[in-house]
Symmetry: C2
Subunit: 355 residues, 2 copies
C-alpha cells in the first residue's frame, strides 16, 4: 500500500507492506488523518520525542510502547478515522464497513505500539491501518469521517480540563489558539466556565477561538489576557491553560498569574525551558502537566463531536493527499494561514497540496 | 537598643531606635532568633528577595507588605521567641512577662510589615521586637524559648505537607535535610506517612533526618532516594518534597519521578532554573510550589513542639550573640557542620561565635 514515510528526517511517498490482522485486530482503510504538532516535532527532533516516550513509560513496565527507532522507516499519523475492510479472529463488535476512530495504540502478542510513532505498524498517513478492536469506537451514523478524525486532538482538551481544578466558579485564560488551545476552549465551554479569555498573535486563530467558545480574545502583543481577566472578572479564581509550548511562555505565565492559580501545561515544549522558581513559590502556584487522555475521555469526545457541540469543521484549513503531506508539514509552520490539515489517503493526487 | 544590622550588603552590630507600642502592639525582649536560608540569600541577593516579595504580593492589595528598601538599614530575623516587656493600648490577651512567638508580621495603621525584611520595624536579630498581639501565640509553660523559636521554620514543613496530596497511603521522598527538609520530614511523620526516604550529601544532616522521622536516608551520590523507594515501597504513590533549592534539582526530580507524582517545591531557588517540560508532560507530573504557612498551622506547630512531637533541639547546632551573627552566616555555608544557628541577643558577647 501507499504511505507517507518518514525516512532520514524527510517525508516521501513509498509502498509499504500491508499486515494481516492478528486476533483482536482489524484492518481499516484510512478516511482522514490530521497532522499534529508532535508530528512536526518528530520530523525535525525525533530524538527528543523518543526521550519523551521513554519518560512517559517510566514505571509502566510492559504497558509502555517500545520507542520508535528513527533510523528505520516510520509512518506517522495518529488522528484518524477509518473504514473497516477486514476483521481478524476474535473480533465481534466491529464489522466490515464500520467507520471507526481509535486511540492511537495497537496491541499484539508482543506488547503495545504507539500508532504513528512505531516501526512495526504504520500510522494514519497510509492507505490502511491496523487497529485493536478493544480501542475502537464506532463513529455514529451521519458524522462526517473528517470531523470524526478530530476526536483525538479534541480529547486532549477534554483531558486537560478534567485534570484541572476548574469549575463553573473559575475563570480561565487560554494561552495559544492552535488546535490544542481550541480543544481546551471547547472543553471549558462544555464544562460551563463562563469567562474564557484566549490569546494568540494570529487573527485567524483568535476568530476560531471565538467560534470554539472563548468569551474574550486578545492579541497578547496589544493586551495581556491576564489584564483582561482582571478587568472583567478578576474576582473568580483563575485557571491558566498553556497551549503554546515554546520556551519562555511558562515564565511569562508564572509572572502574570495571580496568587494560588493553577497552570495546566498542555503545550509540548520539546526543549529545555527556564523559569524562576522563587516567583512560583511566592505565589504558591500549581503546575499540572498533562498529556493525552483516557479511553472514556476519547469516547466522550467523539460523542460531543457527533452531537455538534464542537465546531471542529472550522478548524480544518486544508486537506491533502499522501503526496501533499510533506508540503502540508511546511505549510503548518505558518500559524496564521493553517490550523488543522487533514491527510486524505484516498484523495486524487491532483488535489492541491494545500488549500 | 543593639541590633545586627544589614547595611550595604554587610552585617554589623549597631544601635537602632526602639519604638513605642501602638494600639494592639506589644514590645518584647528577643530570647532567641534562628537564622534562615532566606536571610543568607537576602544578604547576598537582596534584589531577588525584593522581586519575590513583589510577586508574592500580586493581587494582595493592601494586605501585602511593602518590599524593603535595601539601600536603607534592615534588621533581619523572623524565627524568634520573645518575652513581653511592654504592652500598648488595646492589648488584652498578652501581659508583661509572657513568652510568645509570632508570625513574622506586624501591623500598624499604615499596613502590614514583614518582620525581618522591613525598614520600619527591626526583626529578631535585635534586643527588642515590636509584635502585633493578634498574631502572637503564648508559649506553653515549660517549653524552652530556644525550642519555641523553631516554630516558624517547622511551620513551613507542616504547611508544605498540608498543601500536598499526601495521605497515609502515599510514600514520600524528601530531597535535602536542611532545616526545611527536616521540618517536612517531621510533618510527614506526624501525618502517619510510613515510608519517608530522605537524601542529603551531609552525613550529619542524614542523622538528623533519622531523628526527625525519616525511615530511610541516603547519600544521593551513592544511591538515589527514588531507587530506594522503588526497592522498598514502589507500589504506593509517591509525593516528592524538594527542599534543596539549587538550580538543577527540579530537573533531576522530574527525571526520576514516577508517572503522576506530585512534587512539592519547598526549597527556594533564587535564580532562574531550567528543566524540560516535555518530560514532566510525558509523566503528567504535578508541581505544587509552596511558601510560608497560615496562622492555624503556626499555632498547631507550636503545640506539636510543646508536646515533644518534634525533636527540634537536635537541629540547633550553635548559639551566638548579636556580635556573632556575621560569623554565623558564614558558618552556615558549610551544611555538614551546621543546621540551625540561634541568635541570643541577651547572650554575653564572649559567647563563641560558632560552637
Amino acid at each position: 500500500m501507499k504511505a507517507a514515510v518518514m525516512r532520514d528526517g524527510r517525508l516521501l511517498v513509498d509502498d509499504v507492506d500491508t499486515l494481516p490482522p492478528q486476533p483482536g485486530q482489524l484492518i481499516a482503510e484510512v478516511l482522514a488523518c490530521g497532522i499534529c504538532g508532535s508530528d512536526l516535532h518528530a520530523l525535525t527532533h525525533a530524538d527528543q520525542l523518543v526521550e519523551m516516550a521513554s519518560a512517559m513509560s517510566a514505571d509502566a513496565g510492559p504497558f509502555a510502547p517500545a520507542p520508535m527507532d528513527i533510523s528505520r522507516d516510520v509512518v506517522m499519523g495518529h488522528e484518524f478515522s477509518a473504514r473497516v475492510i477486514e476483521v481478524g479472529p476474535n473480533v465481534s463488535r466491529c464489522a466490515v464497513g464500520d467507520v471507526v476512530v481509535s486511540l492511537p495504540i495497537v496491541m499484539d502478542a508482543g506488547g503495545i505500539h504507539a500508532l504513528g510513532y512505531d516501526n512495526a505498524y504504520p500510522g494514519g498517513f497510509a492507505e490502511q491501518i491496523v487497529l485493536s478492536e478493544a480501542l475502537c469506537s464506532k463513529v455514529p451514523n451521519g458524522l462526517d469521517p473528517q470531523l470524526a478524525a478530530l476526536t483525538e486532538p479534541m480529547s486532549v482538551g477534554v483531558h486537560a480540563v478534567r485534570k484541572s481544578v476548574v469549575t463553573t466558579k473559575h475563570a480561565a485564560v487560554v494561552l495559544g489558539c492552535g488546535p490544542v488551545g481550541l480543544a481546551v476552549i471547547a472543553a471549558l465551554r462544555s464544562s460551563g466556565v463562563e469567562t474564557i479569555v484566549a490569546s494568540d498573535f494570529s487573527a485567524s486563530r483568535r476568530a476560531l477561538a471565538t467560534d470554539f467558545g472563548a468569551t474574550e480574545v486578545t492579541d497578547p502583543a496589544l493586551e495581556s489576557p491576564f489584564a483582561i481577566w482582571r478587568r472583567i472578572d478578576g474576582r473568580k479564581p483563575l485557571v491558566i491553560f498553556e497551549a503554546v509550548g515554546v520556551p519562555g511562555i511558562l515564565e511569562s505565565a508564572i509572572l502574570e498569574a495571580p496568587r494560588a492559580a493553577q497552570i495546566l501545561v498542555v503545550g509540548v515544549c520539546m526543549v529545555a525551558d527556564s523559569f524562576r522558581p522563587m516567583i512560583a513559590i511566592g505565589k504558591e502556584l500549581n503546575l499540572q502537566f498533562v498529556f493525552g487522555y483516557d479511553p472514556a475521555e476519547f469516547a466522550d469526545t467523539l460523542q460531543r463531536i457527533a452531537e455538534g457541540q464542537y465546531p471542529v469543521g472550522q478548524m480544518i484549513t486544508a486537506t491533502v493527499p499522501l503526496e501533499g503531506v510533506a508540503g502540508a508539514f511546511a505549510a503548518l509552520s505558518d500559524p496564521d494561514s493553517q490550523a488543522k490539515i487533514l491527510v486524505i489517503p484516498s484523495a486524487d493526487t491532483a488535489l492541491p497540496t494545500v488549500i
